[in-house]
Amino acid sequence: MAGAGYISGLTTARAAGLVACERCGQVHQRQNEVCRRCGAQLHSRKPDSLQKVWAWWLAGVITFIPANIYPMLLTSTLVERSESTIIGGVFELIHYGSYGIAAIVFIASIVIPLLKFFIIAYLALSVHRHALLSQHRRHQLFVFVEFIGRWSMIDIFVVAVLAALVQLDTVAAINPGIAAINFALAVVFTMFSAQSFDPRLIWDENEAAADD
């Protein structure tokens, strides 16, 4: 039974003429526009969901580019003064043999943000097109993106802590670069983008197929 519903015979709430309040969970007839319990707007699907996804996604991409071009850290010591970008920092860590930390930084600051962009774009695109992955896999991707979003801020935390701690006047000082704020914005925008995505859209293709 569960197996059959799992595959194709799934009936969506919308198909059943129902709509659930997103705030309190009260189920209404689809004709209802406002929750009778809590007064929230009732949407069978988030309005303009894909537009919002794409808008936040685009803002994220825009801010992610300077985040990788400009220096993340401004390190000045008595001897020298250096600016390091994210990717430059990774290479520097590799050069000094800190492969583990290099990997962490690389994954947290490069791989995950890029992965999020691709996943969100894929999810948003796959709503209206034929997707290679099953609906369940795509839903799992969405959950993953939502979960992983907060961990992208690890870079920002490192920069913030370093900049706060290492302020030894002329001997050594670390200051955040322009990239830091761009990176933070990119992460925030990506999270907004992911939240704007209505995962119910994933399942709508069944309905559309059923409608056909």
Binding site: Q26, D48, P66, L185
Partner: protein
């Protein structure tokens, strides 16, 4: 259950219109983000600085991120280092602050700052640790900005933050000057010198100098510079001189300056650096002040008859003690006078017209005319001694009064000839002879004669008959007075008085009347006057006698002075004293003294005779009244006699006192003569001659004459040594050492970078070994030893790690040793 499945009942409410249509407002977010990013990017692009290229001869330690500094503030960084296309230069491409870029015009200079060690201190030490940097210097006026520059090989004179005035010094010899040498004013450094450079024509050396702003006004067009480097040892008309300036200037050379004459224009007003000559020494520099180089020198000749040995080219020409020129040449010429021809030495002088009072700007002809006027008024040339020891001569122009007329012989070719006058040359021998001649010329005989005359006069006075007779006459007076008093008439008078007592009473009034008459006749008054005259005379003698000790004092003083060898003065004073004494003795009051005394005595006698013979006794005998009156009168008169006697005695005493002083005078004069005799003139002469001979020998001694030469030679050697030190690269060696130290520090740094890895490897090794050791399983001796060894290694590694960390944290500890 069915309730649960039943959806909520229908409750249709209208949805509020969003009012945004199909396109969501959310698209504003990426648009704003894009705008912000783009504007930020543009801003960054704008602010990234202006790219410039600086070409250096060699890299000298510059690298990517080497800062460019202006007034010690970073204004840009090197972005990359490349070679020029022909590999001739290293081209550093850098970005500099946008605000600075407009000032980087043609005048901008760049150079690499490296550690430098010189005698005056160490500079650029910070670059040992922090690496070299590129320093820049440019003016504060924005010009036509450039982006390509030639870097300087060495730091320029001004590093950019000093303010002051730049000058150019010209000298014949750059050997004694090194870059950075101090410019000294009154011994204090007020500036420094740049690298000496060969004159483009090869005629000399020019060196740019810099005077700090606060001292800039000290340098005027009247300022003179001279070389103070090393020692200088001079022997000249001014005597011996040894000058040693500051040690720094000894090694690096140095130029001092001073402005003695006011009125110059400060060179800071000049747009271009003002050019100064550097003189060899301070004396030349100061003397040059009086030479106006623009003014043409007057060239005149002199034909000296005397031996001019000691006069050389360069000898001074003085006028009233001021140097007005110098001897420019000495040569022999043939002079034809009538039929005879003779060879004469012609000395040619160059005179500065301004220094003999001829106004600036006067033409040469006019100057010569004025000079001719001076000569017509008595100006003559003569040789004078410049230095008595070396026997050097100078030419002096003197104004001679009442001289034979002479004129500036302008017919002589090529130079007019100034007439000469007797020379005032005094060499050592001449001077000694002069001393002797002066001693010879002392009028000692006159002195003796005067003393003899004086004593003769005093003797004559003492032996004068009238003076000797005075006491006798006085005795006579007294005797007569006694006789009178003892006369019978007078003795009998009391009896007569007794017999005529009544008449006495009767006659009292008449007697009174008579006495009044006598008083009116002023007999007693006359007597008093006479006596007071005598008294005056005596007093005069007395005062004269009072002066005698003063005379003696003077003579004694003279004697002392005679001992002090001021013979001329002594003679003058002695003569004066003697003439005073003579005048005193010859004075009328002294001459009149015996006469006056005699006269007084005669007067006294006369009075007594008058009293005796004037009929007073007779009248007394004949008329009691008269007798009484006379008796009273005489009694009154007699009362005055003791006073006379006393005064006469006083007179005698005073004369006696005067006579007592005479031996003293005589003794003093004898003393004087003895002392005059005792002046060991012969010995003096002998000593003077001896001294002079010694001096002469000293001067003639080869060693003495060679002394200045030797000293100068030694000094020259020392200077040569110093210039070797300068040229031999001692400082460069130190710099090289520093560079090596810098490299060592770099190597150390690299090594330090490797240390953490080393220590971690060591730790790993230890862990491995530990693991191996554990395999043995036993806590045997081997394991324990191994563990101890490993712990030691671990500790050593830790120590190295901590050292490495310390060095990384605080690199200056390498230098400070902490």
């Amino acid at each position: 259950m069915t309730d649960n499945n039943t959806p909520a009942s229908l409750d249709v409410r209208r949805r509020k219109s969003s009012g945004f249509g199909a396109v969501s407002w959310i698209w504003l977010v990426p648009i704003i983000a894009l705008g912000v990013i783009l504007s930020a990017t543009y801003q960054t692009y704008q602010d990234r600085g202006v790219a410039i290229e600086i070409a250096f001869g060699n890299g000298a330690g510059i690298s990517k991120d080497t800062p460019i500094r202006y007034r010690d503030i970073d204004i840009g960084y090197v972005e990359k280092i490349t070679f020029s296309s022909d590999l001739e230069n290293v081209v550093a491409t850098a970005r500099v602050d946008q605000n600075i870029a407009p000032f980087l015009d043609e005048g901008a200079q760049f150079w690499v700052v490296e550690p430098d060690v010189s005698l005056r201190g160490v500079s650029g030490l910070d670059t040992v640790l922090a690496g070299v940097y590129i320093a820049g210097r440019w003016d504060t006026v924005a010009g036509e900005a450039r982006t390509s520059f030639e870097g300087l090989d060495t730091a320029p004179l001004l590093a950019g933050n000093e303010r002051g005035v730049e000058i150019v010094l010209r000298t014949d010899d750059g050997r004694s000057i090194a870059k950075g040498a101090p410019l000294l004013h009154k011994g204090l450094q007020v500036g420094f010198l740049d690298e000496p450079q060969l004159d483009p024509l090869g005629l000399g050396v020019t060196v740019a100098g810099f005077v700090e702003a606060e001292y800039a006004d000290l340098v005027t067009t009247n300022t003179r510079f001279w070389d103070t480097s090393g020692f200088s040892f001079t022997v000249g008309a001014n005597g011996l001189g040894l000058n040693v300036d500051s040690i720094a200037s000894l090694i690096e050379g140095g130029i001092a300056f001073d402005t003695v004459v006011s009125g110059g224009i400060p060179v800071s007003m000049s747009p271009d650096p003002f050019v100064f000559e550097v003189y060899d020494n301070e004396t030349d520099a100061r003397e040059s002040l009086f030479e106006n180089e623009d003014q043409t020198l007057l060239t005149v000749g002199i034909l000296f008859d005397e031996n001019i040995n000691g006069l050389t080219v360069g000898s001074g020409v003085k006028y009233q003690g001021v140097r007005v020129g110098e001897v420019s040449a000495i040569n022999a010429i043939v002079v034809e006078e009538g039929n005879s021809r003779s060879i004469k030495l012609r000395t040619i002088l160059e005179l500065s017209p301004g220094r003999i009072g001829i106004a600036e700007g006067t033409s040469e002809e006019d100057s010569m005319f004025i000079l001719a006027g001076f000569v017509a008024n008595g100006m003559r040339a003569r040789l004078v001694t410049g230095n008595i020891l070396t026997g050097s001569l100078e030419v002096e122009l003197v104004d001679v009064e009442n001289t034979e007329f002479a004129f500036l012989d302008t017919d002589q070719d090529p130079f007019p000839i100034i007439p000469t006058t007797a020379s005032d040359v005094s060499d050592v021998a001449d001077t000694a002879e002069g001393v002797l001649a002066r001693i010879n010329e002392l009028p000692i005989e006159d002195l003796m004669q005067g003393a003899i005359d004086l004593m003769a006069s005093i003797n004559a006075l003492a032996q004068d008959d009238s003076l000797q007779a005075a006491p006798e006459q006085l005795l006579g007076v007294l005797a007569e007075a006694r006789t009178f008093i003892a006369s019978e008439d007078l003795q009998n008078t009391p009896d007569a008085i007794q017999t005529t007592l009544d008449q006495i009473d009767l006659m009292t009034a008449q007697l009174t009347e008579l006495l009044t008459g006598i008083e009116e006749a002023n007999v007693v008054g006359n007597l008093s006057t006479t006596l007071s005259s005598a008294d005056d005379a005596v007093k005069t003698i007395n005062s004269v006698a009072g002066e005698v000790p003063a005379v003696l004092e003077q003579i004694a003083a003279l004697t002392e002075k005679a001992n002090a060898l001021q013979l001329e003065v002594l003679i003058n004073q002695a003569t004066t004293a003697l003439s005073e004494i003579e005048a005193l003795i010859a004075s009328e009051s002294i001459a009149a003294l015996p006469d006056g005394a005699n006269e007084t005595i005669a007067q006294i006698q006369g009075i007594l005779s008058e009293i005796q013979t004037g009929g007073a006794v007779a009248n007394l005998n004949t008329t009691l009244e008269s007798a009484n009156a006379a008796a009273e009168s005489v009694a009154a008169s007699v009362e005055g006699l003791p006073a006379i006697t006393a005064r006469a005695n006083e007179l005698l005493d005073q004369l006696q006192a005067a006579a007592d002083d005479l031996p003293q005078i005589t003794a003093g004069i004898e003393d004087l003569v003895a002392k005059a005799n005792a002046v060991e003139i012969d010995a003096l002469m002998a000593q003077a001659e001896e001294t002079l001979e010694s001096i002469d020998m000293l001067v003639r001694n080869d060693a003495t004459q060679a002394l200045p030469g030797n000293v100068n030679a030694s000094l020259a050697e020392l200077e040569a040594l110093l210039s070797e030190v300068r040229a031999g690269g001692a400082i460069e060696n130190v710099n090289a050492t520093l560079a090596a130290a810098s490299e060592a520090a770099q190597a150390l740094e690299e090594a330090a970078e490797g240390l953490p890895a080393l220590s971690s490897q060591t730790g790993q090794l230890i862990a491995n070994i530990n693991a191996v050791a554990n395999v043995y399983g036993e806590r045997g001796r081997f394991t324990a030893d191994t563990n101890a060894t490993l712990r030691d290694i671990q500790e050593a590694a830790d120590a190295i790690t901590s050292l490495a960390r310390a060095i990384q944290r605080n690199p200056s500890s390498i230098l400070t040793g902490r």
